[in-house]
Each structure stands twice: as structure tokens, then as C-alpha cells.
Point group: C2
Chain length 295, copies 2
């Protein structure tokens, strides 16, 4: 990872603007999941650290814009750039990072460059759909999963695929791994918003639903409720929740095993990914760690 950090520092330096360097530091930290995947898959390739750095810049840019969209106040335990510097600076810093990443991508083979660039279109589209879906009560599982794929899984899928292209490995196999890792990661994240307390997660529980996001447990719950309770759940959507309403939702979810059903899907996706990657223990371990976050 040191070589990735060095490449990231070089790319940021090349932007030749002190504000970019300063604000990017505010964004640093994080797990570098995408970079680690690329290093593991294409460990032999001399350009793997540069590809990993590019994908981290893209991920950083997408977080900056996400936080503007969601009006998030914190990111990775620090104040978000939009909170401390204003949305304007966050939007533009994101654009600087995106375009710097794309400029560097040009030095790769066309199939690698195209895979990464196209995933950014997908993730931006995913974010647009996410915002649109939150305007109404969505109870359609497939619509929700399609959005999750675009918003969270495509960049991980693209990172794994591009690294496999660099390393001359089976692209389909790594694409499936990346896609399923991304999807199950996000499903677990959605579960944690319901099961973790505010202190652990650093944000209030049921925050997604308050923001209008009907994640998988809400969709599963809704579809098994009787008409009256369906109506009640709908009436609570995208509103501040009092203690009683929160307790009601959580009781209903327990009763109908909504979180468990969501977890089952995450586990199924993770198992599929494990199966194709059974000969790469390090990549299997990433899945195991991710799944274990939830309980």
C-alpha cells in the first residue's frame, strides 16, 4: 500500500494547487478496499499501484459528491469537506480528482481505461436513481438492487476486472467477485443502519429510512405486512421518527425476520463470490471480514 500512497501523493501534487492538497488530506484514511483488491489481483504488474491510486481518487471524488448530495456532516470520522469548506469547494474538488484520475487512466490499455471510466458513469447514474427513489416509498426489490449495483458495486467490479486485465487473469471471474462483494457490502451497510446503535456507527439508527431510503429490510418487511401495517410503514417514510415509531419498526422487523432475510441475500452473494475465488484465500478472507461486520 505504500506504493499506492506514494502514487496518490504524486497525482495530488501534480494538480499544483495547495487547496487540493490540503482538502484531500481531510478525505484521506478509509479502508482502501478497492486499492487492496487491485494490488492483490495484479500484484506482479508494475502499473498496479498507479491503477490503485487512480481508483482511490475516483472513489474519493464520488464520496465528496455523495456527501454534498446527502448533506453529510462527517466522513471517516472527520468533518466532511462540504461541511467545513462548503458544497461548492466539495463539488469542484471532486471534479479535480475525477479529471486527474481520468487523465492518468489514458496511459493504460484501452480496455482497462474504458472499464474504469464506464463504471463512473454507472455510479453517478446510480446516485441519481438513489435520490429519485428516496422521493417515494419504493417497495420493489429488483429496482432497489439494480440501483445498489450501479451505486456501489460497479466501481468495485471495475477495479477487480481492470486488475484482472492487467494481470492476464479470468476477467469474468473477477468481475463476479467484485460485483458480489460490492452488493453484499452495501446490503450489510444498510443492515447496520438498523441494527447498530448510534455510537457504533456514528449516526442515528434508522437514518436511511428517515432520509427516504427504503433499504432491503424495509422492502422485505413491507411486502409481508397486512394492509393496515403497510399503510403505517408508508406513513413513517422520510419523516423524523419518534421513539414509538422506531420501536414499532424494529419490533415488526424482528417479528418478520426482515434483517435476517436481507443478511441471507448478502451471504448468498458472498458465497457465490467465495466459490469462484476458492483458489485465492486472500480474496475469500476479504469477504469473510466484510460479512462479519454485521453481527
Amino acid at each position: 500500500m505504500q506504493r499506492v500512497e506514494a502514487e496518490i501523493a504524486r497525482l495530488i501534487q501534480e494538480c499544483e494547487y495547495g487547496e487540493v492538497t490540503r482538502l484531500f488530506q481531510q478525505l484521506s484514511g478509509g479502508k482502501h478496499l478497492r486499492a487492496k483488491l487491485i494490488l492483490k489481483i495484479a500484484s506482479e504488474h508494475e502499473k498496479a499501484p498507479l491503477l490503485a491510486a487512480i481508483v482511490e481518487l475516483i472513489h474519493g471524488a464520488s464520496l465528496l459528491h455523495d456527501d454534498v448530495i446527502d448533506e453529510a456532516q462527517t466522513r471517516r470520522g472527520l468533518e466532511s469537506v462540504n461541511a467545513s469548506e462548503g458544497s461548492k469547494q466539495a463539488v469542484m474538488l471532486g471534479d479535480v480528482l475525477y479529471s486527474k484520475a481520468f487523465t492518468e487512466l489514458v496511459s493504460f490499455d484501452k480496455d482497462v481505461a474504458k472499464t474504469i471510466a464506464a463504471s463512473v458513469t454507472a455510479l453517478s447514474k446510480g446516485e441519481m436513481i438513489d435520490v429519485k427513489l428516496a422521493e417515494t416509498f419504493n417497495s420493489d426489490e429488483q429496482i432497489y438492487l439494480d440501483m445498489l449495483y450501479l451505486k456501489t458495486a460497479t466501481l468495485i467490479e471495475a477495479a477487480a476486472s481492470a486488475a484482472a486485465m492487467l494481470a492476464g487473469k479470468d476477467v469474468q471471474k473477477y468481475a463476479l467477485y467484485g460485483r458480489n462483494l460490492g452488493l453484499s457490502f452495501q446490503i450489510i451497510d444498510d443492515i447496520l443502519d438498523i441494527t447498530a446503535d448510534a455510537k457504533t456507527l456514528g449516526k442515528p439508527a434508522l437514518n436511511d429510512f428517515v432520509e427516504g431510503k427504503c433499504t432491503l429490510p424495509y422492502i422485505y418487511l413491507y411486502n409481508v405486512l397486512n394492509e393496515n401495517d403497510k399503510e403505517r410503514l408508508r406513513s413513517l417514510h422520510a419523516k423524523h421518527l419518534d421513539e414509538a415509531s422506531m420501536a414499532w419498526i424494529q419490533t415488526q422487523m424482528k417479528k418478520h425476520m426482515s434483517v435476517e432475510k436481507s443478511f441471507e441475500l448478502a451471504q448468498k452473494l458472498s458465497n457465490e463470490a467465495k466459490e469462484v475465488m476458492s483458489d485465492v484465500p486472500q480474496l475469500v478472507a476479504i469477504l469473510d471480514t466484510m460479512i462479519k461486520r454485521s453481527y
Copy 2:
């Protein structure tokens, strides 16, 4: 231009999201200056319409993000996307357009792709600097011109350079043309904010200064005022201006020929560009039309 329009329509279609198609229409119109330049410089090249379409998508994305930054209510005579759909949708639509453009750029030679991609880093950095400069009273001409170059001229310069690369023409010459066209275009725009009435321009006169932007005429004026008047001009910066203050600024500008001095620089830059392009009458004509906007 029909082939460019067809390419733009195809790229938007390929995003496969009705919202993108719908919102992009709201952004259409405009002079397509960059596309026209590319078509004129690389008229023989089969990929010129695609390059032109890519640059128009990039320009569209930058306008979307600019309007979010400036909280603009209108764009090209229509309601801006941030005004009608919210800043969130405008940020994300911009990201979709940027990344779609970058994905398509990959099919070009590396020098062409790199030139266009790097100009987006420059223009985003220029926008960051523009926002920062507006926070204080900037009276330094060079700092202002450096920002203008980044914010407005680099994409035009890149479009002209990349087209020259496609056509096997003298890249330096076309780069100078694009750069000077962009700079003088923006200087004229800044002048119009002072000389045109609200009706012609569709926005209140002296709007730039109210928003904190010390454009060239203000910088020239400030540097020849006595200490008292310097203080007075500073005190009016980035505030709502009453009739008396507006009249005072305009009287001082007339007295000190601040607008004329700015116009002289625009004309000097335009003449340099004309000189290197003396054998291409169509490109000279673009400069003439642009300069004539101002009076």
C-alpha cells in the same frame, strides 16, 4: 453540426437513463463554439464529430456544476437544472456527462485524450480559485488572468489543440488561437456585465462585483484610484449595491477608462490569435464576431 448533434444524442442515449435524456435537453442550445472549432480545424477527420460531441458533453457538465456553485437560476434562457431539479441532480448529471465523455475519449490517441482530460482538471481548479478569489478583494491582474486561463480558456485551447492533433496540423499555433480566443471571450463577458443593461444580458448589471468577483475593469480601476476612493471601492465589494454606489462605480470607470483598458487587452489577445491564423479566414471570423459583441 448535424453529425455532432447525432453523436451527442447517441452518447446520451447510451447512458440508458430517461432522467439523463430529459435533463440534458434542458441544457441544450448554446453556441457550440468548441464543437464548431473542432469541426473547422479537423474537418476531414472522420472522428471530428465524436470529439466535438465529447467536448460539448464536458462543457455541459462544467456548466451544470458552475450553476450549482454560482446558485444560478437560469442558463441559456431556460431555468437551470439546479433551479428546477435541485443541486443534487445537477451535480450527478454533471458527473454522468463527464464520465461518459471520458469513456468515449479512450477511443482516441493518447495525446488527444490526455489533452482534453487534463483541461478538465485545469477548469475545475480554475473554478475553485474563482470561488476563493471572490472571498476577498483581489486587485492583482496576473492572479486574475491566471484564473481566467484555467477556468475559461483551457478547454477551448484543448479543443483546438486536440483537433489540430487529429488533423496533423501545427498544434502550438492552434493552442495559442484557442487560449487567446478563450481569454478574450471571457474578458468581453466581464465587460458586458458592466456595460450591458439587465435586459440585454438577462442579469443585473455589476452582478459580478456583487458576487465578489473583481473582474479586470475593477482591478484596473482600483489600481489608479486615490487612497480614499480605493477604500470606497473596497467597501462596496461583495455587497448589494444601491443606485448611488452603482452610479459612482460607473462614473469612476468612465473617468479612468477602465472598461476601455480591459477591452484593449481583449483586442490585443484577439489580434495575436488573428495573426497566427491569418491563413484561416473562418477562424479569424470567429474572433471578429466575438470582439464585436462588446459594443
